[in-house]
């Protein structure tokens, strides 16, 4: 069995003059939740469309669930669940009719109870699926009148109809209210506990921090970082000391701190507030305390914090650090 559910190498895609993907390489391990992050227009949806078999790359290799994208005749061959950014259903069908239409013949589905327990029990009842995503009360309402959040839930419901091992979710939590977002993230976590491999794109980085195992960042059609979240937090999330001083300091004194080898960057937020990025907590704190003592600067408060994923993303996109 292949370790990777998705194995993409050097993917290129152009639309007219726009080079949307410029050598994207990405690997999603079996059983993990992969957060695919990037700004609007970075190439997330283009990559996901290719992964779902809805679009063909100009060059590069894309193997999804053991199938090379260029060799499939039909997206259904991939046996994956794909939820587009804006799931479009036939507005004249009810939620129940939509699921009946999309349900494959002879396929069984995980039960809600099974899903909650993470066991392998089978479910055949569409109503049970609808209640799992909180749409039981509107099962007989036409989808045309559904809100975006309800369509996302219905979309999530329909992709489970075929029991796919791999779920590709394009911005599943965007445009949802906080409660809706929280529900979607809960559902994703439950699905992962059922053994599903999930890749989802988003620009809401706190969502990634909450549920992902691996993070891939894309900017201008290129992957800039791809690492396990824990490793990224350990290696790349830089410590920052925030200092409140008793009095204002001059530029020459500040410049002396900036020249310290343990200090990466000093930002003077106000006359008495400093934000100091250091290489590591231990040597950085020593350098700061020595500098304060040497110049007899009065310290009101000192607080250590880490750059979060959002700041790291901005740093990576703007700074191009790899």
């Amino acid at each position: 069995m292949n370790e990777y559910m998705i194995d993409i190498k050097n993917l290129h895609k152009t639309f007219g003059d726009v080079h949307a993907l410029q050598g994207v390489t990405l690997q999603v391990k079996r059983g993990e939740i992969y957060g695919f992050i990037g700004k609007n227009g970075a190439g997330k949806s283009t990559t996901m469309n290719i992964m779902a078999g809805l679009s063909r790359p100009d060059s590069g290799s894309c193997i999804v669930n053991g199938h090379a994208i260029n060799t499939i005749k039909h997206p259904g061959q991939l046996s994956i669940g794909y939820l587009p950014e804006a799931p479009a259903f036939f507005g004249w069908m009810t939620a129940r009719e939509s699921l009946k239409y999309l349900k494959s013949n002879g396929k069984n589905h995980k039960s809600v109870k099974a899903a909650e327990k993470g066991s392998g029990q089978e479910m055949t009842d569409i109503d049970e699926m609808l209640s799992w995503v909180g749409l039981a009360d509107v099962a007989d309402r036409r989808v045309g009148g559904f809100s975006r959040g309800m369509k996302q839930r219905l979309g999530l419901c329909q992709i489970l109809m075929h029991e796919p091992e791999l779920l590709i979710l394009d911005e599943p939590s965007s445009a949802l209210d906080p409660e809706g977002r929280s529900d979607i993230l809960r559902l994703i976590l439950e699905l992962n506990q059922m053994g599903k491999t999930i890749i989802f794109s988003t620009h809401i980085l706190s969502d990634v921090e909450r549920i992902c195992h691996t993070v891939g960042m894309i900017a201008d059609g290129r992957m800039i970082v791809e690492k396990p979240l824990a490793e990224m937090l350990r290696q790349d999330i830089t410590p920052v000391f925030e200092l409140e001083l008793g009095s204002a300091i001059d530029a020459a004194t500040l410049a002396e701190l900036q020249r310290d080898a343990n200090v990466q960057k000093v930002d003077q937020i106000s006359e008495t507030l400093l934000s100091i990025t250091v290489n590591d907590e231990y040597s950085g704190s020593r350098s700061i305390i020595s500098w304060l003592a040497f110049h007899t600067i009065q310290l009101r408060s000192l607080k250590l914090r880490h750059i979060n994923l959002e700041e790291l993303f901005i740093q990576e996109v703007n700074g191009g650090r790899s």
Binding site: N49, H74, G76, Y82, P84, A88, W92
Partner: protein, 285 residues
């Protein structure tokens, strides 16, 4: 495939496509005999006060045959417009709205999607054509006299239905190429009238689907019979028939050729639509 057929059937009912096509065809079926019996003589009398009934009868074919010819003529001219614009979004709108994306990823096949549309709407148009022709047959029979055999009406209806199925195949192919419903409707109309125009101009209608329209308007009599009887086609009907007669190029023997050519075109257009859907980019914004 069964689910796709059921879905298309539901679509035709819920979005009133069946109702629109059937009602419009029925309206034409009732209007044509009424126009011929009541409205046209009134118009002539008001415009030309000196004209008596005998003179009017010499100008227009006031019979069930003339009425049914008029009906099939209207069905070609107006029915094609109705079909083109009520079904122009069959594939184009689905591509435009990306509603095919989820079914495709759920394992639906392009061939099933296209064939189910062909099956359901072919039935819708065949039923609507036969029903409206039957209504027109009964009504014109009551107003004039039952002089045409019902079997001829059935044959003409089936020929016209085959032509409309060709229009349906056009709509699906053009829709898959443009993804724009209105452009699809207009392009299909241009194709439909263009084929007829070129066919008449070059006297090659028997090689084209437009040959079916001409054959349908003969009501099983055969063009030579009509010519021998000196029947003058009424109103809009008759351009095609008269062209056929005068050119002498179209005969009853060309029926099989027109049917075969149309069937080949329908199959080709359907296959091209499936191929196009298979190779195109989906889920584009």
């Amino acid at each position: 495939m069964k689910k796709d057929i059921r879905k298309e059937f539901l679509f035709s009912i819920r979005n009133s496509r069946f109702l629109i096509i059937a009602a419009a065809f029925m309206f034409l079926g009732l209007l044509t005999p009424l126009m011929l019996k009541v409205i046209l003589p009134m118009v002539f009398s008001s415009q030309f006060p000196g004209m008596d009934e005998e003179m009017i009868a010499q100008m227009i074919d006031m019979s069930q045959f003339g009425s049914l010819q008029g009906f099939f003529g209207d069905l070609y001219e107006m029915g094609t417009v109705i079909v083109a614009f009520s079904l122009c979004g069959l594939v184009a709108q689905e591509l435009k709205d990306n509603t095919l994306v989820i079914p495709l990823c759920s394992g639906k096949r392009f061939s099933d999607i296209v064939l189910s549309k062909m099956i359901v709407f072919s039935l819708v148009m065949t039923i609507s054509t036969i029903a409206s022709a039957s209504v027109s047959y009964l009504y014109s029979g009551l107003l004039f006299d039952f002089e045409v055999k019902y079997a001829s009406i059935l044959q003409s209806s089936l020929l016209h239905s085959l032509y409309l199925i060709f229009i349906l195949a056009c709509l699906i192919l053009v829709g898959s190429l443009t993804s724009k419903p209105i452009a699809t409707g207009l392009t299909t109309l241009i194709i439909s009238y263009g084929i007829h125009g070129i066919g008449s101009l070059l006297a090659i209608n028997k090689w084209l689907p437009s040959g079916l329209i001409i054959q349908a308007q003969t009501l099983g009599k055969g063009l030579s019979d009509i010519a021998n009887q000196g029947v003058v086609a009424s109103e809009s009907t008759g351009t095609a028939v008269i062209e056929g007669i005068s050119s002498g190029k179209i005969s009853n023997s060309s029926l099989a050729l027109s049917v075969t050519m149309t069937a080949v075109l329908i199959i080709t257009f359907t296959a091209l639509s499936i191929l196009r859907l298979r190779t195109m980019e989906h889920n584009r914004r």
